[in-house]
Symmetry: C2
Subunit: 487 residues, 2 copies
Amino acid sequence: MNNQTIPNPLLKRVSLTPHRSAIQFENRTYTFQEIYELSFQMAGHLQGLGVKKGSYVSVLLRNHIDTAVVLLSLQLLGGIAVILNNRLTSEELAFQIDDSKSMLLITEDSFMEKVEDLEKVVSIVRKESMENTPFDEPHLVKEIALDDICTVMYTSGTTGNPKGVLQTYGNHWWSATGSALNLGLLEEDCWLCSVPMFHISGYSILMKSIIYGMRMILQQNFDAKETIKVINEEKVTIMSIVTTMLTRVIEELGENSLGASFRCMLSGGGPVPIPLLEKCVEKNVPVYQTYGMTETSSQIVTLSPEFSIKKLGSAGKPLFPSQLKIVDAVGNDVGALESGEIVVKGPNVTPGYLNRDEVLSDGWLKTGDIGYVDEEGFLYVQDRRSDLIISGGENIYPAEIEGILTAYSDILDAGVIGVDDEEWGQVPAAFIVSKEPLREKDIIEFCTKKLAKYKLPKKFYFVEEIPRNASRKLLRRELRKMYEELQ
Amino acid sequence: MNNQTIPNPLLKRVSLTPHRSAIQFENRTYTFQEIYELSFQMAGHLQGLGVKKGSYVSVLLRNHIDTAVVLLSLQLLGGIAVILNNRLTSEELAFQIDDSKSMLLITEDSFMEKVEDLEKVVSIVRKESMENTPFDEPHLVKEIALDDICTVMYTSGTTGNPKGVLQTYGNHWWSATGSALNLGLLEEDCWLCSVPMFHISGYSILMKSIIYGMRMILQQNFDAKETIKVINEEKVTIMSIVTTMLTRVIEELGENSLGASFRCMLSGGGPVPIPLLEKCVEKNVPVYQTYGMTETSSQIVTLSPEFSIKKLGSAGKPLFPSQLKIVDAVGNDVGALESGEIVVKGPNVTPGYLNRDEVLSDGWLKTGDIGYVDEEGFLYVQDRRSDLIISGGENIYPAEIEGILTAYSDILDAGVIGVDDEEWGQVPAAFIVSKEPLREKDIIEFCTKKLAKYKLPKKFYFVEEIPRNASRKLLRRELRKMYEELQ
């Protein structure tokens, strides 16, 4: 049976448990029935705007109940959500909207300034004015095929422009069930989502809420004090977190600990430093370290807390439906404890990228990350792809910044690396070769239009030459040596 | 991505949680590591006997730790287990072994008398002598495709010979995860299996144990006193049961109730009578009524206890991945509260029957059962396929018995229906037209060689004529009227 089908997740959920709590946002709790009714209304307006099965629709929204409704209404219609990172600049957004050939951009008042110029490339509708658009009795997609594309999220490659990662309904389904097999599934489960819904970390919580019939608490922004309050008062059991957030929660906790109902801090976006992990153990905060990416529709490898000390620093083992291997430069498997590229496979792994021909070899995705597995099969991630910078949970790709820098008229060559930062884990540092002396201020001003704020280099070094090999390939390790000598 | 793959379930489980308790049998608990090692050994011997990926291997074994090991070793090799009902006669077994072209029959000493004559049709190996067969380092199938056939179990059609239901790895996987999404998945879960492993009810518990990493307790036979003792002492949380078993457990309980850890009595194989259900409510025994069949790889529709009184008599709603509709004689959907044939669809539904051309229409399986759904979508099963007799959880197909009866030289015509029985729910009653007066004893003696004991008619009525329509089709409703008049 090729391309298995299942019922449309929201329709199925509302038929099973309409009156259960679904999403809590700003002190109001919505049942699955209410979420369905809101999504149905939204679907009618979107259909009125021309959205139908297979339409690509860009979504630029902050965490909000309306965002959940927009995303679910697209599922009801069989539309494909191209979910845009809020922090991108107008130019970056334009690229993704254009590349995905989105027929509509759904956004909100607070982003209107940013999207003003985009009206040339796409029709724009603000959620605040959705009610004024015509309502057309929506044609609901009752059954979805697991291979159908549900969402597209862009990530940058090692070179060139960002690529749209295709995420199928099956990818989201297997991710949710693979996680449940690992973490268990309790009636009282409640997942706190203060990570962005435009990242797979947030979107996957929404999918779990629907598939599990589980309450989720959605927050617009992360705030450590608020997090602790909500966990304790609302009996949160699971929270998705990145290291910078976890650090603040632990600081804010002080001598206190979290409520007894809390059972899992699911930590992604880079390894948790050992001293922080030790503090968590001390305070009885159960940290599940994970390894995953947009291409794996969230976690693919997870470490249970029972191993968090014995296997300190490990990301764990691949979830039940998934596989992992470490390969050398020519693609051969290496033995235990030998470093190599991490290659993953599983029904939660993307079938590929939008408008790109790259195909996975027998389902295996080359992550570009470096790591090894120990004799017992636990994964240790040594380096996210040699060039990747993780800053406060956001992925930054140096090639993208380098491309912008060298577009600046007086810059002859540029190289970017991630350097340690107490607050953000890492921040980008730029090495620049220029004709004339340049002012940082001018370079930043130039970049600000083209790069999201978190991608802007925080340090600049003006040098004679960027280290490159004979074929002009940037030698990032040499750049790192130069950086260390400069400290 | 056609034909998705996942890791071989046992290999994956042993890599994730080798030291967790897997199966408890006769006061010994085996970890997943131990189960794996036993299965590996067994796989080596089976490979030595010629079993390889795709081989059909018949299995005739009683519930025992060895049975779990044999079934899992076949999964390790990618062999297909044709799982035989222990209660079948030699002739019935011969048909299934021949129809499936099994290259080997694995059985045990206690069945040797029964299988003696089968040596003409298949090689036979007894589990007790497995160690004396050559061991060949087994080629383990590391990755399985969800569409690969894992097991075959025979059921009878409305006419003619039994058909081999194909169950894929995907069917078992989706059944296990669909159930977990409904029942939840707790670390302390422990499933009591005293239903036969040759039925999907028992086999599906084994699959859940592997996929969930859950402890199961395996019993050779059902005994009400023992059941209560084990539930309480071993902190069982879930048990699969049929009505006749449930009646005995409730009787045996007397004034007592079950241990607090117990959370789910999963009841299949026909509806639970309302007085029994009321007794269960009284005693705080949470009964989940289900509807399912070999073709749906166990439950496909389940009623949560929260609805067991409000929706008394309902089998519930289809599990998350599954769908249900009620159709009229020409296949059109009927409205709520209207009776019709129950038709089901989902990734847990069989792709079809062995060596048969019948294909499902767009994935929909016609169950032959009659029922309706209420306005809220709850299923009420009114009649298992008009002819099906359910006796102590075993399915009996009248056509099969009629075929045997009419083969008896002096019988001119015969008709069989199920009649109520206090102990077994239903038993078969035979109506016979004969040339000469016949003795029940002689007919039973004749049938005993050809029919499993539970299929033997318990009552005989000698009549002038069997009611048939113009095209000679048996009018079973008329037969039932005749029966009622005779009481």
